[in-house]
Symmetry: C2
Subunit: 343 residues, 2 copies
Amino acid sequence: MPENLTPLNAIGEFALINRLQAGLTLRQPGSVLGIGDDAAIIRPTAGMEQVMTTDLLVEGIHFDLSFCPLRHLGYKAVAVNVSDIAAMNALPTQLVVALSVGPRFTVEAVEELYAGMRLACEAYNVDLVGGDTTASRGGLTLAVTVLGEVAAGQAARRSGGKPTDLLCVSGDLGGAFMGLQVLEREKQAFLADPETQPELANYEYVVQRQLRPEARLDIVHELRELGVRPTSMIDVSDGLASEVLHLCAASGTGARVFSEFVPLANPTLEAAAEFNLDPITCALNGGEDYELLFTVPVTDHEKIKNHPDITILGHLTDKADGTNLITKAGQPVPLKAQGWTSF
Amino acid sequence: MPENLTPLNAIGEFALINRLQAGLTLRQPGSVLGIGDDAAIIRPTAGMEQVMTTDLLVEGIHFDLSFCPLRHLGYKAVAVNVSDIAAMNALPTQLVVALSVGPRFTVEAVEELYAGMRLACEAYNVDLVGGDTTASRGGLTLAVTVLGEVAAGQAARRSGGKPTDLLCVSGDLGGAFMGLQVLEREKQAFLADPETQPELANYEYVVQRQLRPEARLDIVHELRELGVRPTSMIDVSDGLASEVLHLCAASGTGARVFSEFVPLANPTLEAAAEFNLDPITCALNGGEDYELLFTVPVTDHEKIKNHPDITILGHLTDKADGTNLITKAGQPVPLKAQGWTSF
């Protein structure tokens, strides 16, 4: 360990908590008491319901520290949880972090991770109010739990979609998957020859999609401004196909997704071409785009059709019609979930 | 793997979630939507504040599956978090579980773990409303986050103690530590000679204290019934000495803890004698008793002095008087934190 770094066992758990706590501020009016007691104290807003979600990121399964900087990992851990809050049509308010780190981690490494989480807390206006930091025999594990608020009865469940509802998605898809392909190729090149410099300059967009995804809270705000309430919503973490199937299963509907409308960014198309991959397949089965997939009543078509960052992919149908991708030639092809199987 | 057990990768994440979800029921009126969407939906009770806490249990650090049955582990993971809620003078309402399991775990093993969590949810009247289950490269990691409620302004912080307040503790101390000593001795005997049968019959109480601690929600209820509001409170997870120091540091006070009043159960005394350990030291520095340490105004002395399960250990003092254990001979000895240092 270089001399300027501090092993975790040199300062102990309580001193570490004090150091991590130092940079935190509470922004939410409902955050009565943050880190430092047996539990945080929260004052919920009258008339609001809450949403609560937890997500675990495990080293070697969800991230590879050989190409994921700790600061980005901290940011991503918060973003992917906030994405679940956004997918309920809610806004995040407080979060807690449970962290276990192996013996090779230093105080400075944990501070980098927290710096990324603090950045994300600022970006999403959410307060880090509690945590647990402990040792592990292995790598890094990070469990973030976020609480959010939404006006009573306004939460968007997966189950609210109706046949004829328009099926919409924010942003573009497949980029995070292509970013992972690029990063893994560069890692292999580096392992083969440690003198190699990684060539990432041409892949900035897709690498950023993989390493630093953003939760689409902006879409939640904009739909409210447009007066559109999503009838159902889910975030795209496991690939479009898997999420359409989840949404249809919960809503008891089928769907028609037009392949020509699946939004793909140019850098994603270019990277897919280079890797000889079908970009539609990357969008359908690649994961971690963290866009929002949602349905709106067909009567809201006018309100959203010109939104620059929302694409209408197709529409829900009766369940009996199945859940199909419609090819450019007009052929229906049943969608299959090939999302992450982490086991 | 025996034929009647199912490897996790044979069923996949979504099927596993469905199986785990099957046995869950929602009891709390505020639990609007449980597992199965991007997030749970919770309706907070008007006029209440919430408390929120998270705790991580890591295999090889916090538990040893060679002597901790998975069902007990599941129960304990919930209990230790509920203990933090109790330490705020609150009652638990909802919880979420983030779980990562290595390749050697089976579906049946994860179901056992969940069975233990379900038992604890029943015992503490709390709803399991969400989770994340994923693979790991190593062992088992379990992060539980619990939400609780308390009437606005009635939460007990660590910082509310005043000089002259009586310092009280529930139950008895040092038992969980002695249980761990017994279990580790039997494990060593087993490793030396796998034919050995573990000899636990004489140690039932202390082993139970280690493997299946209970959160003292009963004390929270009873103090309310007695009309006693703790001025400060903390749960005893790292040993009495460490917790007294935390409470005094947060309250800006000193304390006098009379060693003759430290509550020790007979089985703890017997086990300590057998292991040649000072039982007071076990209470001060052993961890995981999960009793409640709290202060009450001296005017409440009459209300609690006859409670069979609350012991008055001493009282808070001015900060300048220090934080001392008073020996039977009347000598003050400064308390030192020797709690868990997990790094």
